[in-house]
């Protein structure tokens, strides 16, 4: 009794039951792996790094800074993607982990200038993972809005630690420092900003390779399973609580590494940078970019950096009253968010891949 009906090849039924259900099935199973996953992802990463190198070589310091900004936000959002898109835990407090990373980096540079950069990054990542472990363990039993509320408070509450210990963490002024720039050997080839952009992208791509490998493999499968149906996941042998915490730890590690990159590039770590807005923007951008795929994180990072720029430039280009001009970038960002979410409920990546499928097969969109 072979099934008489062929499943429609395209979309899932619209289903609103679980969080992040709109995430597409990843291609994990689709075609036989092209060699070792690490090799495959590594090659991608090298190609991306080369592209960044070319881009920064061709442009000036302002673009370099933005490229670095895109890189570190890519890492942060990719970490959030694992947590929200893959494991279905909505966190409104990802900025708190960036805070941890930034301050770890800043403290090391300020107090132990002899520690090499790579060690600083590793320390930041470890600190983030620890923070993620603590937060994940404290919130493992929470779901939906309760998790969202708790993480929201985390985003607001954690930066206050800096105010509590002004002598160590610099209080409201935070810490300022200058981190090492391009090595002297390369001084003719790359300038400091360019070098920093390359360092950020190297770190980000290493992080992405790990995230991609984890998402595509058994861990990702487990996280998606518990996102879709925690009870069935548990009965299939997945330790739900531990898997949730693992997702938090990895995601926090990535966020923290991104924070460390930010501190390294800008030479500052200040509580007001890690205010609630940052966390909200990260999550909003993630949804805008598209849940469930690392490409979504890429579009998200681009949006975080360039929608802002576009809004500011728009404000400058138009002859406007001061109050209107000042507030235009905020309104612009909000409007872009609304329009994209309404027009492409599955984000930029979802829209693009639907377009790709549309090209190759006749239209088969789901109906409600």
């Amino acid at each position: 009794m072979a099934p008489t009906h062929r499943a429609p090849a395209s979309d899932a039924r619209p289903d609103t039951a679980g969080p992040a259900k709109a995430a597409t099935a990843t291609r994990a199973g689709r075609r036989p792996a092209l060699g070792h996953p690490l090799l495959r992802h590594g090659l991608w990463a090298l190609a991306a790094l080369a592209a960044v190198a070319l881009l920064t070589a061709a442009t000036g310091p302002v673009t370099d800074l933005r490229v670095a900004d895109v890189g570190l936000h890519l890492l942060a959002v990719a970490g959030l993607q694992l947590l929200v898109g893959t494991s279905g835990q909505v966190s409104l407090g990802h900025g708190a982990f960036m805070f941890v990373g930034a301050y770890t980096m800043a403290l090391l540079v300020v107090n132990l200038p002899a520690v090499p950069l790579a060690a600083g990054m590793a320390a930041a990542c470890a600190a983030g993972c620890l923070a993620g472990l603590a937060v994940g363990a404290a919130t493992a039993r929470l779901h939906g809005p309760y998790l969202a509320g708790a993480t929201l408070m985390l985003a607001v509450g954690l930066p206050a630690v800096a105010l509590r210990f002004p002598d160590l963490l610099g209080g409201a002024n935070g810490l300022a420092f200058t981190a090492i720039g391009a090595p002297p050997a390369l001084s003719g080839l790359v300038d400091d900003t360019q070098w920093r952009a390359l360092v950020v992208w190297t770190v980000a791509l290493i992080g992405l390779v790990v995230l991609a490998t984890a998402t595509r493999g058994r861990l990702g499968r487990h996280l998606r399973a518990l996102r879709d149906d925690p009870t069935a996941a548990a009965l299939s042998g997945i330790p739900v609580g531990r898997a949730r915490v693992t997702a938090f730890v990895i995601s926090a590690g990535a966020g923290s590494l991104a924070g460390a990159c930010q501190a390294y590039v800008l030479g500052t770590a200040t509580p007001s940078t890690y205010a609630l807005t940052l966390s909200l923007v990260l999550l909003a951008a993630l949804v805008l970019g598209g849940l469930g795929s690392l490409w979504g994180a890429f579009w998200a990072a681009l949006a975080i950096v360039y929608v802002e720029v576009a809004g500011t430039e728009l404000a400058h280009a138009l002859e406007l009253d001061t109050d209107v001009r000042n507030n235009l970038p905020v309104v612009f960002f909000g409007a872009v968010l609304i329009i994209i979410v309404l027009a492409w409920p599955r984000g930029v990546h979802g829209a693009l891949s639907a377009l790709g499928r549309h090209r190759s097969t006749p239209s088969q969109t789901g109906d409600s």
């Binding site: 499943a7 289903d15 199973g29 070792h36 992802h41 490998t213 399973a225 009870t231 009965l235 042998g237």
Partner: protein, 272 residues
């Protein structure tokens, strides 16, 4: 070590004021199919929940091969050689059929977290093995051609088979099936009966079902629950003949003006 894959002894489960199971006792022998039937709300699913560690019994013991099972959690089931198919299927809607079944096969993998993060060490081999096992299961259940579809897009009968494939992919020693025949057409039920009977070759099955035809056809033993108590326990024929079972569950066998009265010998046992 005795021969029972599962022994349920004096199992009592209560929810607030409601006693869902009251000193329930029965065994599932090695390589057998045991049916668990009873009216709606009798506590059949609750027995499964207790066995799978979803609810904690108030009293009583569960034994596997004579060894007591205590404080086990749902995710320990695969390790215990137990596998469960949920009443509502419980497929993961955001994952493909193949991935769904791979989740079931994942307990075969042995690598740890570092491997999962880096793809190094045992991870690639694990992955290959899991995938091969899952693909084999899909073949076995005749759903290989849907491997890359999302379950939501498939007919219900196909989804059922996917769920069954996921439950069986690790060749469990004890399979818990909760109403596997509901929503299936008559021919599909027959096929299901074949499969369940075939499973006796590897292990045992505890089957909850309202489809009497299926129960009578495949079970070696039938346990009947009513209001959380065992009211009958025996071979299918013994149970059928039990007046208490008839009163509580099956209803009068012969229709007096009953529209649903069976009309032919080969259908005589169809309760639906």
């Amino acid at each position: 070590m005795d021969g029972h894959v599962l022994s349920v002894e004096q199992l009592t489960v209560a929810f607030g004021g409601l006693t869902a199971l009251d000193r329930v006792t029965f065994d599932v022998p090695h390589r057998s199919v045991v049916g668990l039937i009873g009216p709606n709300g009798a506590g059949k699913t609750t027995v499964f929940n207790a066995v799978s560690g979803v609810v904690r019994p108030r009293e009583g013991t569960l034994r596997r091969h004579g060894r007591p099972l205590r404080r086990h959690r749902p995710h320990h089931l695969p390790r215990l050689g137990i596998s469960r198919m949920l009443q509502g299927l419980g497929l993961f809607p955001g994952m493909t059929v193949l991935e769904n079944v791979m989740v079931g096969a994942d307990p075969l993998a042995t690598g740890g977290l570092p491997g999962m993060l880096t793809g190094l060490g045992r991870a690639p081999r694990d992955e290959r093995r899991v995938r091969e096992r899952a693909e084999a299961a899909l073949h076995e259940f005749g759903v290989a051609d849907t491997a890359h579809a999302l379950p939501g897009t498939l007919p219900y009968g196909v989804q059922k088979r996917v769920a069954l494939a996921r439950a069986c992919v690790c060749s469990p020693e004890l399979l818990l099936l909760d109403e596997p025949a509901s929503g299936l057409a008559a021919d599909e039920v027959s096929e299901l009966a074949e499969r369940v009977r075939g499973m006796r070759a590897h292990g045992s099955v505890l089957l909850v079902e309202h489809h009497m035809d299926l129960v009578m056809r495949v079970c070696d033993r039938v346990v009947v629950l009513d209001f959380g108590r065992v009211i009958a326990d025996g071979t299918p024929d013994e149970v059928r003949a039990d007046p208490a079972v008839e009163r509580a569950y099956l209803g009068p066998p012969e229709g007096d003006g009953d529209l649903l009265a069976p009309d032919g010998p080969e259908e005589a046992r169809d309760g639906r």
